[in-house]
């Protein structure tokens, strides 16, 4: 085939050249670089455990620092509008509508002093085991005396 013959006719010689003495000097140059590379690698090899240890300490310190930051910080920081929503939800959950209209059960007025006194008396009478009729008579007498004093 003519084209194939043409390719073969070109020949297989290298069409490129190299600078003078290139291949003579190259092995020495490469050996120098290899030795330098080995020195660098041996320094890294020596320093590697120390560097690893230092990196580990830095890592532990960072973890401790962030952990402390997390502990010191308030559990949840709710933005103001979200806080309003949270309060409304709290009231809906723990109080029905009537209770809210009546007022805060925790701040209800103290029972009147008279009621307290009455309760005290009742307790006293029960403890002393006083007869009911005697008690009524005593009270009527007492009321009569009070009326007389007023008149």
């Amino acid at each position: 085939m003519s084209n194939q013959g043409k390719l073969n006719n070109i020949g297989k010689e290298q069409p490129f050249r190299v600078p003078e003495n290139y291949f003579r000097d190259l092995p020495e140059q490469i050996m120098d670089k290899c030795k330098q590379d080995e020195q660098k690698r041996s320094i890294v090899h020596i320093l590697k455990p120390a560097l690893s240890l230092a990196a580990m300490f830095v890592g532990v310190a960072l973890i401790a620092y962030f952990a402390l930051q997390m502990i010191d910080r308030p559990a949840v920081q709710v933005p103001s509008n979200q806080q309003d929503i949270a309060e409304a939800e709290y009231f809906d959950r723990y109080f029905n509508q009537n209770e809210l209209l009546e007022g805060d059960p925790e701040n209800e007025e103290e029972p009147k002093t008279d009621n307290k006194k009455t309760q005290k008396y009742i307790k006293y009478l029960l403890d002393e085991d006083i007869d009911y009729t005697t008690l009524i008579n005593e009270l009527e007498e007492d009321q009569g005396q009070q009326k007389g004093e007023k008149q």
């Binding site: 084209n3 043409k6 600078p19 291949f23 490469i30 290899c34 590379d37």
Partner: protein, 182 residues
């Protein structure tokens, strides 16, 4: 050329006393073959020199782990090929240009290369080779110029022998067409 066999050199390399000597012999034995292989991929002498030196530094680092079930020279070729292709990819990335334009650039390097000593027909052949896709270019150079066996090429390029034969066949056809048309 080194008077030692690969096996002898590898054994010497394992002994710290002869390590440097053995490695220097390996460089002497393979530097030219690897250089020309790299040069045909990246064209420029300066780039080839850098890649060849990096190749041998990598060999130096990895020779302890080299498994002797494969041939030393196919392993060296493999490293040199990977280094060359990585170089071209980095060049493409650095200059933000598509691969086709890298090959166009290589053609310009070829035309202005002070270390190109070929005649016009050889220049035309090199230009024709640069028009091939990357893999075909590698296969053509390794088969045509380096006369490497397909089995060895298969180990270097991780490609089946059949695919390599087909690739070489297509490459020859394309080059012939280029030579005829230009």
């Amino acid at each position: 050329m080194s008077e030692y066999s690969d096996k002898e050199l590898l054994e010497m390399f394992k002994e710290s006393e002869y390590r440097n000597f053995a490695f220097k012999q390996i460089i002497k034995k393979y530097q030219e073959r690897l250089y020309w292989h790299i040069r045909k991929i990246v064209i420029s002498h300066e780039d080839s020199d850098d890649i060849l030196q990096n190749t041998f530094i990598k060999v130096w680092r990895g020779l302890d782990q080299f498994r002797e079930d494969s041939k030393l020279y196919t392993w060296l070729y493999r490293i040199a090929t990977n280094e060359s292709l990585t170089f071209l990819k980095q060049k493409k990335k650095r200059q933000y240009i598509p691969f086709v334009d890298v090959e166009h650039q290589l053609m310009n390097v070829l035309e202005s290369d002070e270390y190109f000593s070929g005649d016009q027909i050889q220049l035309k052949l090199q230009k024709a080779i640069l028009t091939l896709p990357e893999k075909q270019r590698l296969v053509f150079n390794m088969k045509y110029f380096d006369e490497m066996k397909y089995e060895d090429m298969s180990r270097v390029l991780d490609t089946s022998v059949g695919a390599l034969k087909a690739s070489f066949h297509h490459a020859v056809k394309k080059i012939e067409k280029y030579l005829k048309e230009n």
